[in-house]
Amino acid sequence: MRHDLRDCVAIVTGAGSGIGQATAWLLAERGAAVLVQDIDAERAALTAARLDREGRDFDIVVCDIADPEADRHILATALARWQRLDILVNNAGIGIDRPIEQIDEIGFDRMIAVHVKGTFFTTKAAVPALKRSGRGRIINTSSRWALAGHDKASDYIAAKSAILGLTKSWARELAPYRITVNAIAPGGVKTAMVRETLGEVGIAAEEREVPLGRWCEPREIASTTAFLASTAAAFITGQVISPNGGKTMIGF
């Protein structure tokens, strides 16, 4: 099967931990050169350490994607190093589980800035290079909660839903340039952040609510991203794929 990403250059935002980290590792394993972006230099270095150990082609950029100026810098870093870009994985995000009364204007603005503005302006900067690629791929990270809602975190869910709007309109806008745009809406993922906040007991309780009876490892989300990034998925655009263990089945 054509999952080979040799000769491709990928940017993964929020690649310092969790799903982004697993995605950076897997895309590199399949042959892509990877730019590891994160807001946290230490975390980015952790991701890079394994890439280095495995002899992968990579670079690091540390910045806040909520700043459009930084987003132009991300792209410039990739082009300076590899002179091309084929795959953009908009993954950087923040998750805070607050009821409506606890979401203040600063928190709300930050939530929208990271997810929506970050995805928007990182993509805006990358589009000229993706048009030149001839096999451009944009993979946005939404959430199962954007499909089904949740009893808290409405700011987060609004942001993740907005990412679905970007996905569908960009799919149409960029199709003439053979750029495909899709979203991944992960269900429960056992990231370090989640293990810390929920604990193993909390995760086990959540897992009982999932038809497959488990949450997944970050690499299992990365495998869907890698599929969408491959030439095998060249006819898939504007779609939302939700690896969620069967917890949410909707639409259509």
Binding site: M1, R2, H3, D4, A146, L147, L164, K168, A171, R172, A175, P176, R178, T180, A185, G187, P211, L212, G213, C216, E220, I221, S223, T224, A226, F227, A232, A233, A234, F235, I236, T237, G238, Q239, V240, I241, S242, P243, N244, G245, G246, T248, M249, I250, G251, F252
Partner: protein, 252 residues
């Protein structure tokens, strides 16, 4: 590259078009493939292609609407090969008939092939999948099952029914680690399509509706089937993936 070494896959309607593409791709990935079709020469030709490429293939010749025969053949094949791990419910028939033109006989045949055929094929393979706690069922729906069409309402309804089976089975079979998903192709350049009258002039009109500006090769639909059939998609169940070039962007 996902490997299907040691796995046995059944492809209904594997004698032509997309079914043949699914059969060849899974066989190329190492699966032993059972090619079911109502058309014997076509099924045998697919098996020959698989064997010529160094793979393992065998044929079942029957009508999927003959449920007793279908189940008997599948059970016998499972005994012979020791297991059936992957079922691709692909067998189908096309239609462009208007509401007034569809007779009761047409209607019954449409549901018998798509819905009953898929239902009773799954019923035959599920006990073994449950016992081994490994199973992948992939139902082939259509974008017309998602968003309708100006004709062929019997076909649209049958393809929508497959989405119902997908979601229900995903929940029912999850406790046994059996994953059930649907693939809903958009325009595909199968022989059935290419043999239509004036297809060259009509194709120019058809692809105007597709943002990516083209129809898919059958192998591109097979690539999505293979992804879902692989361990890469072990956290994906109850979902619908639509490789449609952006023609249909709906839901969620």
């Amino acid at each position: 590259m996902p490997s299907f070494e040691g796995r046995v896959a059944v492809i209904t309607g594997g004698g032509r078009g997309m079914g043949r593409a699914h059969a060849r791709l899974l066989a190329a990935g190492g699966a032993s493939v059972v090619v079911q079709d109502i058309l014997e020469p076509e099924a045998q030709e697919t098996v020959r292609m698989i064997r010529d490429a160094g793979g393992q293939g065998q044929a079942i010749i029957c009508d999927v609407t003959d449920t007793r025969r279908l189940q008997h053949e599948l059970t016998a094949m499972e005994r012979r090969l020791g297991r059936l791990d992957i079922l691709v419910n692909n067998a189908g028939i096309g239609s462009e008939a208007t509401l007034e033109e569809i007779t009761e006989e047409d209607f019954d045949r449409m549901f018998a092939v798509h819905v009953k055929g898929s239902f009773f094929a799954a019923q035959a393979v599920v006990p073994g999948m449950k016992a081994r706690r490994i199973g992948k069922i992939i139902n082939i729906s259509s974008i017309w099952g998602m968003v309708g069409h100006h004709a062929a309402s019997d076909y649209c309804a049958a393809k929508a029914a497959l989405l119902g089976l997908t979601k229900a089975w995903a929940r029912e079979l999850a406790p046994w680690n059996i994953h059930v998903n649907a693939v809903a192709p958009g325009g595909v350049l199968t022989d059935m399509v290419l043999q239509q009258p004036n297809i060259e002039t009509r194709m120019a009109e058809k692809i105007k509706l597709v943002p990516l500006g083209r129809y898919a090769d059958p192998s591109e639909i097979a690539a999505t089937v293979a992804f879902l059939a692989s361990s890469e998609a072990d956290f994906i169940t109850g979902q619908v993936i639509s490789p449609n070039g952006g023609q249909t962007i709906v839901g969620i």
